[in-house]
């Protein structure tokens, strides 16, 4: 497999729904092995942008190249090498977690060790359970596991920690860091800033369908400070979330 230095290249991407310009001239590129974040308030165009890259939706104009493949021309070829975690994932009823993963793998003509994959996301003890029996955090982890069945070189995670408690969120962060250490590229969307700071090598901030800023998180903070910005209250060395985690521990709560 050819690894392109720039695994994602987006050039002047546009997509409208009626009068609404959901994506309005977006350009960026992501290097192989990078964790790239797209930040923005709800309705900024994050999900639409990501869905065009995933081959789930066609753009009106502009180009999206993933792993050297024009997504619009051959979405199936792109889908073969990427993993997609949708914002709200659902799976077949009445199949156990391992059965679902086996089916998902077969869609890529692959056979996998489903139990091993579940172990990676700490769900091996729920192997025989149904998806609907899982807690919110477990569902999210299973959904991530389901994106790994084809050993993707590029993972799309759409708001992977929305609605999770602090323990589950940190667990998801650890997963993303592991994907990076395994050499996978990760593109994630989020509206949690601390998540972007923690995980992303670079972030793009989107608003009203446009990218309004793009850089390393630290560089973005520095440039704000250089404009003379000061928080009204000086930051303490810990915050309420640190207190919460100190009291309740970092162990996953899935009951």
């Amino acid at each position: 497999m050819i690894h392109h230095a720039e695994i994602i290249q987006v050039n002047d991407l546009r997509k409208s729904y009626g009068d609404l310009k959901a994506v309005d001239g977006v350009s960026f590129s992501v290097s192989a092995g990078e964790v790239f974040g797209i930040l923005g308030p709800n309705g900024a165009g994050k999900t639409t942008t990501v869905e065009i890259l995933e081959g789930m939706r066609a753009q009106d104009s502009g180009s999206a190249i993933v792993n050297g493949i024009d997504v619009q021309k051959d979405p199936r070829a792109v889908k073969k090498v990427i993993g997609i975690q949708l914002q709200s994932s659902a799976f077949f009823d009445r199949l156990s977690l391992t059965e679902i993963l086996d089916v998902m793998a077969s869609l890529y003509h692959r056979k996998i060790d489903a139990l091993e994959l579940l172990r990676e996301v700490e769900l091996d003890d729920r192997a025989g359970a149904l998806f609907k029996e899982l807690s919110g955090g477990q569902k999210q982890r299973f959904s991530v596991a389901s994106t790994l069945v084809n050993d993707p070189i590029l993972l799309f995670l759409d708001e992977p920690t929305t609605g999770l408690d602090p323990q589950a969120r940190r667990h998801m962060w650890a997963l993303v860091q592991r994907f990076k250490s395994e050499g996978r590229t990760v593109l994630l969307t989020t509206h949690y800033m601390e998540e972007a700071e923690e995980l992303c090598d670079r972030v793009a901030i989107m608003d009203h369908g446009k990218i309004v800023a793009m850089d390393r998180p630290a560089a973005l903070v520095d440039s704000l400070l250089s404009k003379g910005f000061k928080k009204e209250r000086t930051e303490k060395l810990a915050n309420l979330e640190d207190v919460f985690l100190d009291i309740t521990g970092r162990e996953l709560r899935d009951e």
């Binding site: 789930m56 994932s89 799976f91 199949l95 077969s106 869609l107 389901s146 084809n150």
Partner: protein
Amino acid sequence: MLRQLFQTNPTLSLTKASMRIWFRDRQAIFWTFFLPLVLISVFGLLDFGAFRTVDLGIVDRANNDASQKLIADVRALGTFDISDDLSEEEEREALLDGDRNLLLIIEPGFGEGQSPAQRRVTVIYNQGEPQESAAGQTIIQHLLDKITFAEGNISDRYKIDASPVDSRNLRFIDFLMPGVVAMSIMQMGLFSVAFSFVQLKSRGVLRRLKATPVLPASFIFAQVFTRLTISILQTLVLVGLAVLAFDVHLEGNLGVMVLLALLGGGVFISMGFAVSGWAGTEDVAAPVANAIALPMMFLSGVFFPRDAMPEPLRAVADFLPLSYLADALRNVAVDGASLWSQWENVLGLTVWLVVTFFIAVRLFRWE
């Protein structure tokens, strides 16, 4: 090798999954197998009497050798449901109550001499059921002729040839069973596809599949294959129960019935896809599917013959897909008709298949 293929081929693996999902769905199994089985059992156990069986009451006033021979001959035919252990008064009462088609009274001295009174039986018949009554009279007359004819030659007297009247006892369950099979195939195709597909769509399972390189055809094949398999199973289970437990006589070829079940299944599965393509949620799909299924259940001659309907209604009902399927299955099961002789019903179903398939393709949406 085969195992490997089922694990890594998307179409086969989706088919296996969709079979598993279906057979783990207790509700689906209930509606598909249990309910029709109950329906057949109820109509099989409660003998609604008789649909074209002739009920005959016999009162033997003669009580001699000749009368007993005649009664034995009538009994040996097996054509009648006979009652001969009640008093004349009780029998007349039963006839008036409509529990008999005919009452045969053998006059005293029957067969003992040559006078007309000694060679006569009285038959009182139920005017309200002219066909059964006429058939009964014909049979009895036929027996009497035999006796008359045989008096010169005693050895012939006890031999009775098969009745020239069609003496097959078509009970209600014989009529009902093929209809229930057709109806179950409709219910399964229409509801099982419409519901499960709308559910997969509204909950986002199809979207998750769309995020993989799987071809839509693989997924649809899996769904259709599963449902067609179940159509065959339904046919075998329902026919099997009717034959084994309720003594339904299967005249035709079971293989022909299975072929018809596949064709009918195809029509109703396409209809299910059309409904689910059009409806976004289960709340919409349910009433639409019911609006299609319910009128057909009552208009297509599943529970009673369409002859009973007023002519204008019948003209419409004759063209319903369930009518074609029920008629074809019934003709094969009851009359032993060949597939070829059912070409009109097969053509009707095929036209419906083309039409519903076209509509399903036009209305089909992944999201």
